[in-house]
């Protein structure tokens, strides 16, 4: 229900204003049902339904509605909910998971896959990717991930940099990744909006865009912004400069929110036609930067915060409290383990690497047990992320390493728990947990069949389904690469 509210920003009715009022929130609820359609006028019963208009920049991805139903039988299934089914069956139908259990039967014409000895998991989700915005080949013309011209560029959207022909998408698909969030880089305090896409080949980003998923807001702590701008004798050049930068930006956005609220009140009076000859009120000037920050404070855009050090995470939690927004996840967080209790208590996920450390001082305290420790407290939300065109191809191995270190440290982490780090927990941080991330009836049929235990260096994805459509089949690889560039 909440998931489509972000699309309201582009709705025809509020095309040049924010979804700030209750009126618009109601409209948001309406568009949650049909996120790409503007509610049309009531049509006469006999007339054909009006062609729904598309919201600018919205998803044009068409989930597979037809196609042969698939019954995967006798697999070891990690559901993503923390459960493991041995000898389990999974039925995919109409792009959705129709049933999960044992001794399932499918409809007439169902394609049956004997998965004896194989493992099945939800499609993997990477919450931190720069595919398409820093694509391969990594050449000057492709440097599209950091609008490093101002410390606050909240008005830019990663999707407007996204090159769908990045060969990295197909490589990630072979690694079982079905959904990913593509973020701007971390040069800026507030780098802009991220986009969540389905990992499907398409010539446009709109045709990859996860229907109804909220956008992310990339924020960055620490060394990167102060190095980039400090090096230009410009603010911020210190960590205190960083924090002053976020605070001023959000304070400006609060002011902007107030202007719009006042305007909407005037507009309501005008629309009530109390004074028949009144002139319509002039709306405030639209500011894309502040619009994004206001959307973050509204919860319509989810905050994803690059932040390594525990003390800085605590500062950012205070910033969020000051301005009334939620941080969905701290990314990279090499010191998240030092604050694991607090993150769990506040419901903030840690999107982390298994073992990266030391490339800069704020990463010097990285440990291999970080993910397991963030996972440990009740309510802990640990995520394995990649931030890498290489790492995204092997999220299962990264999770396996993190699981192993946790077990070695004496924690009880079976595969059915660890798989959540690359599936359901990731979905939660992106606000798409209702649609994907677990193998439960009614969810999107985003599914990977592995040739064995995915927590192994030797494991390979045999088949990858996105919305029930077989997008990768190791036994029958496509003769040509998907990416035009790779031809």
């Amino acid at each position: 229900m909440k998931l489509a509210r972000v699309t309201c920003i582009g709705m025809a009715r509020s095309r040049w204003k924010l979804c700030l009022s209750a009126v618009c929130a109601a409209a948001a609820t309406a568009c949650a049902m049909q996120p790409q359609a503007v509610p049309g006028p009531a049509a006469p019963a006999a007339a054909p339904a009006p062609e729904p208009a598309r919201l600018p920049y919205s998803s044009t991805y068409q989930a597979g509605q037809s196609g042969t139903p698939v019954l995967i039988r006798n697999a070891t299934i990690l559901t993503g909910t923390g459960t493991r089914l041995d000898g389990g069956d999974l039925l995919l139908e109409n792009g959705r998971i129709a049933a999960i259990g044992s001794e399932l039967t499918g409809p007439d014409g169902v394609a049956v896959i004997d998965a004896n000895g194989r493992w099945v998991t939800p499609g993997l989700i990477d919450v931190h990717s720069h595919l398409g915005v820093y694509p391969s080949p990594s050449i000057n013309a492709h440097s599209d991930g950091n609008e490093a011209t101002d410390p606050v560029t909240a008005g830019v959207w990663a999707e407007h940099s996204l090159w769908p022909q990045d060969p990295g998408f197909e490589a990630a698909l072979r690694g079982g990744v079905t959904t990913l969030q593509i973020l701007p880089g971390s040069a800026n305090l507030i780098g802009g909006r991220g986009v969540t896409v389905k990992n499907v080949w398409a010539p446009t980003y709109q045709a990859m865009k996860f229907p109804g998923a909220k956008q992310g807001l990339k924020m960055a702590c620490g060394e990167n912004p102060k190095r980039v701008y400090g090096g230009r004798q410009k603010a911020p050049s210190t960590r205190m400069g960083n924090v002053a930068g976020y605070r001023q930006a959000f304070a400006d956005a609060q002011d902007y929110q107030e202007q719009w609220k006042e305007h909407e009140a005037k507009q309501a009076v005008f629309e009530a036609k109390i004074k028949p000859d009144a002139t319509p009120p002039k709306p405030p000037r639209r500011d894309l930067r502040l619009e994004t920050l206001a959307a973050a404070m509204q919860g319509d855009v989810l905050v994803h915060n690059h932040c390594y050090r525990a003390d800085e995470m605590a500062t950012m939690l205070d910033l969020a409290a000051e301005f009334g927004f939620r941080i969905s996840a701290f990314h990279h967080g090499t010191e998240a383990y030092k604050l694991a209790d607090r993150l769990a208590a506040e419901g903030v996920c840690g999107a982390l690497w298994a073992d990266w450390w030391g490339f800069k001082l704020e990463a010097y305290d990285g440990i291999q047990e970080n993910i397991a420790l963030v996972d440990y407290p009740d309510g802990g939300c640990a995520i394995v992320h990649s931030d890498s065109a290489e790492g995204i191809q092997r999220l299962n191995q990264e999770a396996a390493k993190a699981m192993t270190r946790g077990i070695r440290a004496g924690l009880d982490i079976p595969p059915e728990r660890a798989i959540r780090w690359v599936t359901s927990n990731a979905a939660r941080s992106l606000g798409i947990e209702v649609q994907t991330g677990t193998l439960e009836a009614g969810k999107m049929a985003d599914v990977v069949i592995w040739n064995g235990n995915p927590f192994s260096v030797y494991a390979l994805a045999d088949q990858v389904y996105v919305d029930g459509v077989l997008r990768f089949d190791r036994a029958h690889p496509s003769a040509k690469p998907l990416s035009d560039f790779s031809l």
């Binding site: 080949p137 060969p167 490589a171 073992d355 065109a389 290489e390 092997r394 192993t404 260096v457």
Partner: protein
Amino acid sequence: MKISYLVAAFATAILATDAACAQDLLIKGARVHTVSTAGTLENADVLVHAGRIAEVGTGLAAPAGASIIEANGRALTPGLFGGLTQIGIEEVSLEPSTVDAELELMAPAWQHHWRPEFDVTPAFNPRSSLVPVARIEGMTWTMLAPLSDRSLVAGQGAAVTLDGRFDAVLNGSESLFVNWGSAGDKGSGGSRAAQFMLFDQAIREVRQPETAGADALLLPEGRAALKTYLAGGRVVFRAERASDIRQVVHYAKRHGINPVIAGGSEAWLFAQELAAADVPVLLDVLDNLPGDFDRLGARLDNAALLHAAGVRIAFSYDDSHQARKNRQLAGNAVAHGLPWQAALAAITSNPADIFGMGNDRGRIEKGKAADLVLWSGDPLEVTTVADQVWIAGQPIEMRSRQTELRDRYLERLRSNSPR
């Protein structure tokens, strides 16, 4: 057991340079991957005396006073190669005061001297925090490789042991490092064609120093350094594109250089010739994307294709902090077609052979340095960890700054959230 390791580690600190005084060690009942013609031995014993492997067999008797380790069937391998790294010459990558891997040349490329005499090994700090991080994961040695952004010739490096001794350089491993292809662009005026031109000039200055003149590329020290490499010395060329690899191999052979290719994304296109010329290749097997136009042919089965053609391969993730990932590279190479034994060789015996130390280490054989790792499972598997590492026969204390941090915060977390 734990206490005896601590004592032994203390002893290591005192006696590291005097292996002859070291306690004998008998590892019993291991699955010994010798990486030699003996292959894998089940339920075998390895006896270590004076820092060297004294015997490999079954039912070996422990000498008086020997430390005895019951392997209970666990895998034992030679100590692993950490790849080309800057361990001990780089602490925090983005902090220049902690990085000694590169000689920064301020002059424009067409004016600066080549400094092949630049040798990073005296800068090696065995007390670097990176050393324990790598070695407790089974990496017992690494190849220190100078880096270069602006010069074609990065300088010289050598292998070091990671047991913490000050005199860590392993003799016979000295190598010169050269960037080629687009990686060398900044050092060759923007054209890879000029890389041959500049090399021609440098070689002429070495062979005919009287022609060097005022605009010489090399200083006298540089001529002396390069001269040794033109007499069959080992030069590691970082090259990715097939055409560059081919050109550089022919060029090196023509000038008496013993080339090693590092990178080699497209080496598979040239596999037969590399095998015939006996040119080894250091690979990052995870490098499968067209990261630049030199690597359009990158693929996951590069290692398998090269091995099948008979090319000697070794793995290098080329990352100091993540040297431990070299083991994961080997596992992935297996997943993409490389035989398991060949993958283990690519992080043990092959790099030892490539860098001139095959007679001394890289295999579990009588007389070899007793660099050994006892594993919790399959040594190439990501769910496996090193249970114990020995270098020169001495047990390594299985601690690092990272395990200290882990222990501190795990304890706090458990007391706050009992479960």
